[in-house]
């Protein structure tokens, strides 16, 4: 054992290690605090936490799980982007290649099951936050940030569902986006849309309504694919990442994980 200890201490004391981590393995409280402050990832955390908030049976670790899955999705998604081309000609066959030719042939699986798991994790996180009453003051705003994150998570999943460009994908998106046709005022079959006319011409019709804007055409096609691809890979993740940062910031500013006062 003393052999291993020697190796450990020579690593920890080396110039390389110190240059990266700034402190060695913490042995006293001062160093424990410095370990948290001196590291950009760890400093998301406070130096000390309430014991009640640390318990798995309190937070269920569900917010953390949702965040971890968000990271998994980012990394696996990035790897998928190396192969996948969002065009009607290639998309489906790139899926097959991902399964049969690409190295680590489970990237798609990780990405898909991770996405399902993230949806469930976010629901459970919300469920936990509700059951501990953690949305009550001063955390009202963070609950609202959370609700938007929930919506974004669902939209991420929904836009991603189209990308394999198989029967499952386009028909699920067809069913989903058909709803937009019925948007009040803004859908061609929505209540009130007929009222929006200009000099006798209808403003809202199948070529101009909310559904048309969503799927970039009258039917699901190449335009929809590229639109959903950009939303899925760039726009929504960007907004979600920003809001997650706000969410974590507010967890800290609202006094850390909730607990009885």
């Amino acid at each position: 054992m003393s052999f291993l200890k020697d190796i450990q201490s020579s690593i920890v004391k080396s110039q390389v290690w110190k240059s990266i981590f700034r402190v060695g393995i913490p042995t006293d409280n001062r160093k424990r605090a410095l370990a948290m402050l001196g590291n950009v990832v760890l400093h998301l955390h406070p130096i000390k936490v309430k014991k009640s908030g640390l318990r798995m049976s309190y937070t269920w670790c569900m917010g953390g799980t949702a965040f971890f899955l968000f990271l998994v999705e980012t990394i696996t998604g990035l790897l998928l982007m190396f192969y996948y081309r969002p065009t009607v000609e290639y998309a489906y066959f790139d899926m097959i290649d991902l399964r049969e030719v690409a190295a680590f042939g489970i990237m798609r699986e990780l990405h898909r099951w991770g996405a399902h798991a993230m949806v469930i994790a976010v629901w459970l996180h919300m469920f936990r936050v509700f059951m501990t009453g953690s949305y009550k003051p001063p955390r009202e705003f963070n609950w609202n940030v959370g609700v938007i994150l929930l919506v974004l998570t669902l939209l991420l999943s929904f836009t991603g569902y189209l990308l394999p460009w198989d029967q499952l994908a386009i028909w699920a998106i067809t069913v989903g986006s058909n709803m937009a046709r019925a948007t009040p005022m803004l859908g061609s079959e929505g209540p009130g849309a007929a009222l929006l006319t200009l000099g006798g011409t209808k403003l809202i019709h199948v070529g101009s309504d909310a559904r048309f804007g969503l799927i970039a055409g009258r039917t699901i096609g190449g335009g929809t694919l590229i639109r959903f691809y950009v939303l899925h890979c760039v726009a929504i993740p960007f907004v979600a990442a920003f809001l997650i940062a706000v969410h974590f910031w507010r967890v800290r500013k609202d006094g850390g994980i909730s607990g009885p006062v």
């Binding site: 009640s52 489906y92 609950w143």
Partner: protein, 359 residues
């Protein structure tokens, strides 16, 4: 065996299973015995046994084992587990409070612990476990890939992604503008409004049931009975043409369900008054319009006078009370419409096809 299967198929039809779930929901919240370790184990064994026995049935197996449906099976178990955990902790805390002792969380809240190493290490271990689970899951179960997209051949049934199947199931009872736009929008608005409507200062930062009964009952009703249950129905029990199929029923494409639904206007003008439908839409639909207006605008005011609600009215003030009760009534429109459909074959309360305005 066959008889039991038929019985379960029969009682899984929405009118029965939904009613049953309401009863179960009531019993669940009323009985504390379920939310003990023993009760939890019993429920787990019962559900698992039901699930495993059902797997023997080929029709059941076929639906449950679809790759994209596997997460929903897991979700049912996971949601069940966490429901148990939260109520277990809530009732233990309530027992402590009743005995005049501090809650479990209270006894630990002053105790501050260094983040390094405790929190950092538990996060690390969580990540390792999650990674392992995800990798095993991905190796064991291939992501689905069906035939290449073909816009001219619609699969039957065509289903939205599973997390939206609750909304798709609502389409049975409401038109798309309600089920697909207004109600989901109000779910989001309602969720966001929760912290501003709920003025109960108690139960902030610990599990409890006693101190915030109505909040919890309402939330669980929405989350479990409406949201999760409709997803399960939409995923496992809706087959071709969105017809209902019991868990052991074969998804027969040729199954035909007679369309016998009638509008409120038809029931009143034709069946009760024997005069035929008036030609102007406003006169024709006047009863439905009055009914809806009464439900959404008169009922909240009437409720605020009732003793049970008066308490909340005074606590919350008029603005919070009316917003809260309106959101609640809109949520209740769904089960109400369901029962009207099952009992009277009601199609629409208000049916103004002229403007696509059907409720």
């Amino acid at each position: 065996m066959e008889a039991i299967r038929d019985l379960i198929n029969f009682f899984s039809y929405p009118q029965w299973s939904f009613t049953l779930s309401l009863v179960v929901f009531g019993v669940m919240l009323w009985s504390r015995k379920l939310w003990t370790k023993k009760g939890g184990l019993l429920m787990l064994v019962a559900v698992t046994a039901f699930f495993c026995l059902s797997l023997l049935d080929p029709n059941f197996r076929q639906v449950v084992a679809k790759p994209d449906n596997v997460p929903i099976v897991m979700m049912v178990f996971i949601v069940g587990y966490f429901l148990w955990l939260s109520l277990y902790k809530a009732f233990r805390n309530d027992e402590l409070t009743e005995a005049g002792e501090p809650t479990f969380e209270k006894s630990e809240v002053e105790d501050k612990i260094f983040t390094w190493p405790d929190l950092v290490f538990s996060e690390f271990i969580c990540m390792v476990i999650l990674t392992v689970v995800l990798v095993i899951w991905s190796i064991a179960l291939q992501a689905p890939l069906e035939e290449p997209a073909n816009p001219s051949v619609a699969p039957n049934p065509s289903k939205a992604p599973w997390y939206f199947l609750g909304l798709q199931e609502m389409l049975v009872y409401f038109d798309p503008w309600m089920a697909g736009v207004v109600l989901p929008g109000l779910i989001i608005v309602g969720l966001m409004a929760i912290p501003y409507i709920d003025t109960n200062p108690k139960g902030n930062g610990y599990f409890t049931f006693r101190e915030r009964k109505s909040e919890i009952v309402l939330f669980l009703f929405g989350f479990l009975v409406l949201w999760c249950q409709l997803i399960v129905i939409g995923t496992f029990l809706r087959g071709p043409n969105w017809n209902f199929f019991g868990p052991y029923e074969f998804w027969d494409i040729t199954k035909i369900e007679p369309l016998v639904n009638v509008d409120l206007s038809e029931i009143i003008w034709i069946k009760l008054l024997h005069v035929g439908l008036p030609s102007h839409w406003f006169v024709r639909e006047i009863f439905g319009i009055l009914l809806m207006a009464a439900y959404l605008f008169v009922l909240p005011v009437a409720l605020s006078k009732i003793k049970f609600f008066k308490k909340y009215y005074e606590q919350m003030g008029p603005a919070r009370f009316y917003i809260g009760i309106s959101l609640f009534l809109v949520m209740m429109l769904l089960p109400i419409k369901m029962y009207f459909r099952w009992l009277f074959n009601l199609k629409y309360f208000i049916h103004i096809q002229e403007f696509f305005f059907n409720v």
